[in-house]
C-alpha cells in the first residue's frame, strides 16, 4: 500500500496544455475522487498516474518513489476502465489470470488470487463465460476482479460506473465503497458525477480546465466552497446564483443588494472588504431557503413550474429574469400561487467576486 504525491504535474498534447501544474498529496489508504466536467483533465491525470500517458512536466511519486519513467506494469497499480476493457475472446477466468500468466507468476498463486477475487466479488458462477455473455453489472465486477487479482498498492478507476443504468450504479457504488473498507488500499476514482464523488470519497479533488480548483472532504466542499465553480458543481440541484452589488461594508460584515430586486439586502458576516458598488454574485443552495420572515431578508419570486417528488418539492422560479430553484420539503402546495416568498438566511449564503472567487 502506498500514498501518492503529484508535484507540479503538467500535460501537453503538442502545443495544447491540458493539465497546468497539479499539486496533490494522497495518503495511504485514502479514497480520492477526481471530479469535474468533461475535458477538465481528470482522466488525463489518472492516466498519467497509471503511466499510460507521458508526464510533460513535474513529478509523480508513488510510495515515495518518482515513477515518471517507470512502466505502468512496474508501478504497482491496477486500473478499472470505463468500458471495462475485458478481453472479449477470453473467459472470465482467463481475463482474471491473463496478466499474471503473461508475467510468469506461479500457477498455484495465480489460481489462489483468482479464486480469492471471485469470492470477494461473488462471480464464481461466471468464471467460464465470456464477457459477451455477461450483463453490464457482471462485466463491471469482472473488471474490478481483474484489478484485485494484481494485489496492487493503488487502485485506479476511470469512470467505472458511467455505462451502467441508474439502479445498478447505486448498487455498484455501495460495493466499491465496501471493497475499499475491506481492502483498505489507496483508491483513486475519476467521475463527472458529483453524487458519486460525495458518496465515495474521503477526499474530493475538483478539477476544471486542467486546474485543481479545490481539495477537501465532501462535506467541507459542500459547506465551504472555495469559489463559484466548486459551489455550483457540488450539490444537486446546483446552487442558485443571483447578481448583486455591494451596498455597504461595515462592522457586522458586507451588505449586498440584489440587482433583480434592490430592496432585498443581506448582510453577510465576512471579513473581506470589497469596494462599494462592485458587482458580486450571491449564492444560495435550493435547500437552504427558509420560510418567509425567518431569514435576514425575504425574496419574492415568480413561480414557473413546480415538481413534486413526494418527500420534497422543487419550485422553478425567476426574479427579474434570473432563474432560481427553491426546494420546499413537505410542501405540496408551494407552487400553487403565482408568486412565492421565501427567507434568505445570511449564514447559508455565499458571496463571490466578479472572478468567481469566494469573499470570506
Amino acid at each position: 500500500m502506498a500514498g501518492l504525491a503529484l508535484t507540479n504535474v503538467i500535460k501537453r498534447f503538442g502545443a495544447l496544455q491540458v493539465v497546468h501544474g497539479a499539486n496533490l498529496d494522497i495518503e495511504d489508504g485514502e479514497f480520492v475522487v477526481f471530479v469535474g466536467p468533461s475535458g477538465c483533465g481528470k482522466s488525463t491525470l489518472l492516466r498519467m498516474i497509471a503511466g499510460l500517458e507521458d508526464v510533460s512536466g513535474g513529478e509523480i511519486a508513488i510510495a515515495g518513489n518518482v515513477v515518471n519513467d517507470v512502466e505502468p506494469s512496474e508501478r504497482h497499480i491496477a486500473m478499472v476502465f470505463q468500458s471495462y476493457a475485458l478481453y472479449p475472446h477470453m473467459t472470465v477466468r482467463k481475463n482474471l489470470s491473463f496478466g499474471l500468466t503473461m508475467n510468469g507468476n506461479p500457477k498455484a498463486d495465480t489460481q489462489r488470487r483468482v479464486a480469492h477475487a471471485a469470492d470477494i466479488l461473488q462471480i464464481n458462477e461466471l468464471m467460464d463465460r465470456r464477457p459477451g455473455q455477461l450483463s453490464g453489472g457482471q462485466r463491471q465486477r469482472v473488471a474490478i476482479g481483474r484489478a484485485i487479482v494484481r494485489e496492487p498498492q493503488v487502485f485506479l478507476f476511470d469512470e467505472p460506473l458511467s455505462n451502467l443504468d441508474a439502479e445498478l450504479r447505486v448498487q455498484m457504488r455501495v460495493e466499491i465503497s465496501k471493497l475499499h473498507k475491506q481492502l483498505g488500499t489507496t483508491m483513486i476514482y475519476v467521475t463527472h458525477d458529483q453524487t458519486e464523488a460525495m458518496t465515495l470519497a474521503d477526499k474530493i479533488v475538483v478539477l476544471r480546465t486542467g486546474r485543481i480548483e479545490q481539495v477537501g472532504a465532501p462535506l467541507d466542499l459542500y459547506d465551504d466552497p472555495a469559489n463559484q465553480f466548486v459551489a455550483g458543481f457540488i450539490g444537486s440541484p446546483k446552487m442558485n446564483f443571483l447578481k448583486a452589488t455591494i451596498h455597504a461594508v461595515g462592522q457586522e460584515g458586507v451588505t449586498a443588494a440584489l440587482i433583480a430586486d434592490p430592496s432585498v439586502r443581506l448582510t453577510l458576516p465576512i471579513s473581506s472588504r470589497p469596494d462599494i458598488g462592485s458587482p458580486v454574485i450571491l449564492g444560495i443552495r435550493p435547500e437552504h431557503f427558509s420560510d418567509a420572515g425567518t431569514g435576514e431578508a425575504d425574496l419574492t419570486v415568480a413561480v414557473h413550474v413546480a415538481e413534486h417528488l413526494g418527500h420534497t418539492s422543487y419550485v422553478y422560479a425567476g426574479v427579474s429574469g434570473e432563474p432560481l430553484i427553491i426546494e420546499r420539503p413537505e410542501s405540496r402546495h408551494a407552487g400553487d400561487q403565482k408568486t412565492l416568498t421565501v427567507g434568505l438566511p445570511a449564514k447559508r449564503c455565499f458571496l463571490f467576486d466578479a472572478e468567481g472567487e469566494r469573499l470570506r
Binding site: G51, S83, A85, N103, D158
Partner: protein
C-alpha cells in the same frame, strides 16, 4: 390496397425480366469454359452449337499435361499463394498495428507515403523491379522472386490498421497496466480480435497471388518454374495446341477459388469493399 399489390407484382416481374437475361449472359462464359473443357477439339470446332457438357475432361487434361507440365505449375501456384498470403498477413498486420496503436517519430510520414503511393499503377515499378530481381539479385526463376517482391502491397497495412484502430484502446491499456509486453498484447489480444479482418484479407491476398500474371510472366518464364496462369498463357495463341486442354486448365485455375468464393462470399465481399471505406 388491391391496386397497390398489383403494381408491386408488375414491378417484381419487370425486375426479374430485366435481371435474368443479364445474369445468363454473365454466367455464360463460365458455363462455356466448363462445357469446352469436356469437349474434344473436334467437337469444339464443329459447326454445331453445343451448350451441354460432354465427357472428355480427363483426355483434355492429359493433352494439357503433355503440352505443358500443368500439375507442376499448379503446385507452384498453390505453394506461392499460400506462403505469400501467410507472409503478407504477418507483415502487414504488424505494420498496421504499429501505425494504428503507437505514437512515434515519423508516423505521419510513413502513413502519407503509403497512402500517397497506393494508387500508383504497378506498371510504374515493373521495370526497376525486374532489373533488381533478375539482374542484380540474380533471382529469376526462383521461389523467392515469385513470393517476396509482391509483398510490398500496402492494402493489408491499411486494412489491418483500420481494424486495429477500431478496437477500444482501453483493452490494450488494461493489458499494459497488467504488465503484458507489447508483442504479447499484439499476439494474444489484438490478433485474435482481428481474426475476421485477417480472414477477409487472406482471401483477397490469396486470390491476388493465385491470379497474378504479369510479374510471374516476366520473372519466372523458364518451364518448370512457371505458375499455372503463366503456363496456361504460353499455350494461348499457339497453333498446334489442344483447346480442350487449355479449357481444362482454365477450369482447374478457376474451380478452387470458385469454391472458396461460394463458401466464403461474405469475407470476399468485405475484403473487396474494405478499400472503399474511407
Amino acid at each position: 390496397m388491391r391496386s397497390k399489390s398489383r403494381s408491386l407484382l408488375m414491378r417484381r416481374l419487370a425486375l426479374h425480366a430485366a435481371l435474368t437475361p443479364l445474369a445468363i449472359i454473365w454466367l455464360f462464359p463460365l458455363w462455356m469454359m466448363f462445357v469446352f473443357s469436356t469437349m474434344s477439339d473436334y467437337g469444339i470446332f464443329s459447326p454445331d452449337i453445343v451448350l451441354w457438357p460432354s465427357t472428355q475432361f480427363i483426355e483434355n487434361f492429359q493433352n494439357l499435361q503433355a503440352d505443358t507440365d500443368f500439375l507442376r505449375a499448379m503446385f507452384i501456384s498453390i505453394t506461392v499463394a499460400v506462403i505469400y498470403t501467410i507472409l503478407s498477413v504477418m507483415l502487414t498486420s504488424m505494420a498496421g498495428w504499429a501505425l494504428a496503436r503507437y505514437r512515434f517519430a515519423g508516423r505521419s510520414v510513413v502513413i502519407a507515403i503509403i497512402l500517397g503511393t497506393i494508387t500508383l499503377p504497378f506498371a510504374v515499378v515493373v521495370i526497376p523491379q525486374f532489373i533488381m530481381v533478375a539482374r542484380e539479385f540474380r533471382l529469376a526463376n526462383t521461389w523467392v522472386a515469385l513470393i517476396v517482391p509482391p509483398l510490398f502491397n500496402s492494402l493489408g497495412v491499411l486494412f489491418m490498421r483500420q481494424a486495429f484502430s477500431m478496437m477500444p484502446s482501453e483493452l490494450f491499456d488494461a493489458a499494459r497496466v497488467e504488465g503484458v509486453k507489447e508483442w504479447r498484447i499484439f499476439l494474444h489480444i489484438a490478433l485474435p480480435l482481428a481474426r475476421p479482418t485477417m480472414a477477409a484479407l487472406s482471401i483477397i491476398l490469396f486470390l491476388a497471388s493465385w491470379n497474378n500474371y504479369l510479374w510471374p510472366l516476366l520473372i519466372n518464364s523458364r518451364p518448370g518454374m512457371m505458375t499455372a496462369p503463366v503456363a496456361l498463357g504460353t499455350l494461348i495463341g499457339l497453333t498446334k495446341v489442344s483447346w480442350g486442354g487449355i479449357m481444362a486448365g482454365a477450369v482447374l485455375l478457376t474451380a478452387p477459388i470458385l469454391f472458396v468464393f461460394i463458401f466464403l462470399q461474405r469475407h470476399f465481399i468485405s475484403g473487396i469493399t474494405a478499400g472503399a471505406v474511407k
